[in-house]
Subunit: 326 residues, 2 copies
């Protein structure tokens, strides 16, 4: 079945679309009430984040727009030290979209939400003219402990920089799909709850965290350096990149430092806890390749010690990255 | 200036777009932190709602997609008895969109958020291929008093049905714009906080509330009747409709009972408080034409006493309404 404008007109066919696809994928007492808003338990301090996903292709090696829409938003909550609790799911569907594809995406979204421990509490569906595209907005709400204060501006001289795994997979996977290149590179799209919550529960002194998405590691570290008024020094040989992504980058002249991931993060932690933190991340799902990649200094900007022993400045992404990767 | 795909690629031009348009319209300490998520004060019971807006045209008499995106979401929070607190703002922009138009819409959104008393705490911007369209998702979070329990299923035999004003303006205004019909019908797009909060603060026993959007009054009352297992009886002569909308409907064969509004609501209240409630609504901004239009019975379905003294069943919207009105 193809989606038509009638599926978005608010009448019977809209109800059918919701019943047959979205309700089948996601059913819980709050959502099933179909009220104007969900009323749920709160907490004294909450985190809120929103993100729209417009990736093409809709399904790619290692994930799809549905799993991505959950991971991206859940990870944004985690990066402030929040426990992700609720997520909203709003679809904008272009006419001509395939109902089977939509069913698959909705199921993937529900499965990822389950893994990430979030409940889908509100949804919305709109249909627009177009060519079968699907766009998803997810907004997440999480609970934050009263004493938690994790933010970019908290990085301090002497802190240790931990990268949770290999760089560039999501970007390389999307680009490979678009170019029709056959390889085994899979998106790393994943919810990072286990590593973050294990660090928090063990009392690791985390100063800042950021998932590495559009703009890549270089952009994240420059933002940290700017708002914390510190320098960031990393060592090229410590940065994990799989041989396949490295090869892909060499052929196309891409720099893994500016490529987007969807299941990797940077944690800036107090020196005393660094070794413990990296062990915790390595033991968690999606963190086996975690590594200490450098330290925070009293300088400024981001500097990388190259494999050849030189030093180079790492900039934020200046040029234009690949659009529609998330 | 026209928006291009480069504005959505996560590089310098994306930052410019955000700085020059969205930050100028909306600036507050939480949003300006530019963190992965906003951390804000919460409450023990919260309401969450999400809605995407895809209306065409983007600007219409009485409002635009920006004001609509705030009103729709704020009103959905209010309908559960929540005090709206936070809103997120996620734009999906088609290439070719006009930057001046975007600036106008962002300003209108900020102004309406201010009137509605909500803070924009998180935002997102994506650019997709297309023809200059603009789509906005807003997700709202509100605080709910521990003892508040307002929901569709709470309507009871003997309750009184209050309509907050005249029907059909938003629908008629959008349709007029699309058809190029010249008239003075304006969208009723408005945040309903004043009437709802004044009723709540006065201790009116509200059982259910619903804003009247896609599907119209007929659809809302049928949903109430179904989930509450009650009958709804309304009187045609009590339902306020402006002469201009009535004329417009007669020409086109439209029924105001199935037309969408964006600034009107139904409140189902205990009989003892009905007169007081209607006075409170009438005194509030956007409520001057409020009226008691009927009562809840122990029957089933929705029945209307016609002007001619007959009775007819009011159905939910069966056919397809006008798409993309919100």
């Amino acid at each position: 079945m193809k989606i038509t404008m009638a599926h978005g007109s608010g009448g019977r066919q809209t109800a059918q679309l919701i019943d047959e696809i979205f309700k089948k994928a996601n059913s819980n007492p709050v959502l099933d009430m179909m009220e104007d808003s969900a009323v749920v338990a709160g907490d004294t301090k909450i985190a809120i984040t929103t993100d729209s996903f417009v990736v093409t292709p809709l399904i790619f090696k290692g994930g799809d727009i549905g799993s991505l829409a959950v991971c991206g938003t859940v990870n944004d909550l985690l990066m402030r030290g929040a426990v992700p609790k609720y997520i909203t799911s709003a679809y904008i569907i272009e006419e001509g979209a395939d109902a089977e594809l939509l069913t698959k995406i909705a199921a993937s979204m529900a499965e990822t939400a389950k893994e990430a421990g979030v409940t889908v509490v509100a949804g919305d569906t709109k249909v627009i003219e177009g060519n079968g595209g699907i766009y998803i907005n997810t907004t997440g709400v999480g609970f934050v402990n009263e004493n938690t204060d994790i933010k970019s501006a908290n990085c301090k001289n002497g802190d240790v920089i931990i990268l949770s795994g290999t760089l560039g997979e999501h970007h390389a996977a999307i680009l490979s799909e678009r170019m029709g290149v056959k390889n085994n590179i899979q998106s790393d799209c994943a919810p990072l709850g286990e590593m973050v919550q294990n660090m928090m529960n063990t009392g690791i002194e985390i100063h800042a965290m950021r998932d590495i998405t559009r703009g890549g590691l270089g952009t994240v570290l420059n933002e940290f350096a700017n708002v914390s008024n510190c320098g960031f020094e990393i060592a090229e040989e410590k940065i994990p990149v799989t041989p396949e992504v490295e090869g892909f980058c060499k052929i196309l002249g891409l720099d893994p430092l500016h490529m987007g991931n969807e299941g990797k993060m940077i944690a800036v932690v107090a020196e005393k806890d660094a070794e413990k933190a990296v062990q915790i991340i390595r033991k968690s799902k999606y963190g086996e390749n975690a590594a200490i990649i450098g330290t925070v200094t009293d300088g400024e900007g981001v500097t990388m010690l190259t494999r050849l022993g030189g030093r180079r400045t790492v900039t934020e992404l200046y040029g234009e990255g690949l659009p529609r990767i998330c």
